[in-house]
């Protein structure tokens, strides 16, 4: 437990709005990063951010310090993200891809290229690799995707991931193994 965070939580539970804002600022960058990486859409990431922290705001009084605040927050965030991922699976939409005159392109590539005066050859290769990775990630179940995201990009230990997702470390391990096997299969000669 972090004493500074704890005191912010207690103050926010007493209705101190500045403390709540400070608490949000401690965690919100990693929440946004998680949502962006999972959903690859600034609009969806923005919705997740908003919904997650509003849920925290409404339910903070129920937080009893029986787990870390990080775990509690991430349970909320991962639930919202999993819902989004499941909806996408059902709709079979690829929200991360937009149609352009050059064919379907990962919308994050478009975003990145606004900033970069990119080398065309490198851009083409990156785009192909990116599409292959998107396809590989798209083949994962929402739960495998989440475990992989939390371990690879967020650096959480599998035990912590199990706590966040309400499962065991062993189950998280199996998810991670399946996810990497699937991705290695899809990426094939690219790696």
């Amino acid at each position: 437990m972090n004493p500074q965070v704890d005191s912010l939580i207690r103050a926010a539970q007493r209705g101190d709005q500045d403390a709540f804002e400070q608490l949000v600022r401690v965690y919100d960058q990693s929440v946004l990063r998680l949502a962006m990486n999972l959903l690859r859409s600034p609009e969806d990431a923005r919705d997740v951010y908003q919904e997650a922290f509003l849920r925290v705001y409404r339910n903070l009084h129920t937080f009893r310090f029986d787990c870390s605040f990080h775990t509690w927050l991430y349970r909320i965030v991962t639930n919202i993200c999993l819902d989004q991922l499941r909806k996408r699976k059902v709709r079979k939409e690829e929200a991360a891809v937009v149609e352009t005159s050059e064919g379907p392109v990962d919308r994050m590539d478009l975003f990145e290229e606004e900033n970069a005066a990119a080398d065309p050859e490198r851009t083409t290769w990156n785009r192909q690799l990116g599409q292959r990775i998107e396809s590989a990630l798209g083949d994962l179940t929402p739960r495998e995707r989440m475990v992989f995201e939390l371990r690879h990009y967020q650096g959480l230990r599998l035990r912590a991931i199990g706590d966040v997702l309400g499962t065991t470390e062993e189950a998280a391990k199996n998810c991670l193994f399946r996810a990497t096997q699937k991705m290695r299969g899809v990426l094939g000669d690219f790696i």
Partner: protein, 308 residues
């Protein structure tokens, strides 16, 4: 250990999730087994490829999200209410409705969203920091008619947005003034951003100013703004996070003058972790001056210009 069981452990090994005994056993097997050694290499290659696909949130998105959230809370979200039933966007739009009626759905291109974030900050200052008006002089209001409808008996009902302009004066040590200057650094008007960032650049010791300078350097479309932000970050060039931002500017900024300045700041102190960035850059840099500068910096660091 069989190849099948080794294969199951390789991803966990990569992520440091094995016990020391399991690691030893796997390492011994991989050392002896060519195909598992290749599988280990593929695992590393996969991780590198995925690292390259990591998405960084656009710098202004975080500000926008915070703006949405705090506006929603101020606009009616209640803490601890189990009866809470409104969606976040509803709350956000309601909150905006009170101050910026008619701006409509927020899911617009980022530039528009950033403008709204500025609007939010402005509204927030007006609503909560009334001391700021002490030195202000009210100017005539701008009026926008949003809708007109007839209500019978020859009368009409007109929905009107009033925007007022005030002149606020004060020193940069005044937190309220500093907040306005920070809001100015995100304005649509490039001239306002240049002035704002120019004023902030000597105050990078403050976390909020530092964030604004980082955002400006990373994402402002105007090179004059980015140049001023870079100047402001100069005293912090030893900070690891700032060095990452400078390295990004070096790789991504399309303005060679900014890239030159970024090289200067990055090589002002010895940092071997920058060698790879510089070596990569020297291979792809299309500006002769920048390329020569980077090559010289590598030479000064006793590093080779090429990569192997």
């Amino acid at each position: 250990m069989t190849c099948e069981s080794a294969s199951a452990l390789i991803p966990l090994y990569h992520y440091g999730e094995l016990t020391p005994e399991q690691e030893d056993t796997l390492e011994a097997h991989v050392h002896e087994c060519g195909s598992c050694s290749q599988a280990m290499d593929r695992q590393r290659a996969l991780a590198r490829a995925l690292d390259r696909r990591e998405v960084t949130a656009p710098p202004r998105l975080l500000d926008d999200c915070r703006g949405d959230l705090f506006a929603a809370i101020q606009g009616g979200a209640t803490a601890g209410s189990k009866a809470f039933s409104k969606g976040p966007w509803t709350l956000f739009l309601e909150a905006l409705g009170a101050t910026f009626a008619g701006l409509g759905r927020m899911r617009q291109p980022l530039a528009a969203a950033a403008l709204l974030a500025v609007g939010f900050f402005g509204a927030r200052l007006t609503a909560t920091k009334t001391a700021i008006t002490a030195g202000g002089v009210a100017q005539p209001a701008y009026t926008t008619v949003r809708s007109i409808s007839t209500v019978g008996s020859g009368k009409v009902e007109i929905s009107v947005d009033d925007t007022t302009r005030r002149i606020v004066s004060g020193g940069l040590d005044d937190p309220a003034i500093q907040q306005l200057v920070l809001a100015g650094s995100r304005e649509d008007n490039a001239a306002v951003r240049v002035e704002s960032v120019g004023l902030l650049k000597d105050r990078a010791a403050s976390g909020e100013v530092r964030d604004a300078l980082v955002n400006a350097l990373a994402a402002d479309p105007n090179p004059a703004v980015r140049m001023k932000a870079l100047e402001g970050l100069r005293p912090l060039a030893g900070d690891a996070q700032i060095r990452q931002v400078l390295a990004q500017a070096l790789i991504r900024d399309d303005n060679p003058v900014i890239r030159m300045q970024a090289v200067d700041l990055l090589v002002a102190q010895r940092d071997d972790s920058m060698v790879g960035v510089l070596q990569n850059l020297v291979q792809h840099e299309d500006n002769n001056y920048v390329r020569l500068k980077v090559a010289k910096a590598l030479k000064d660091m006793n590093a080779s210009v090429g990569t192997f």
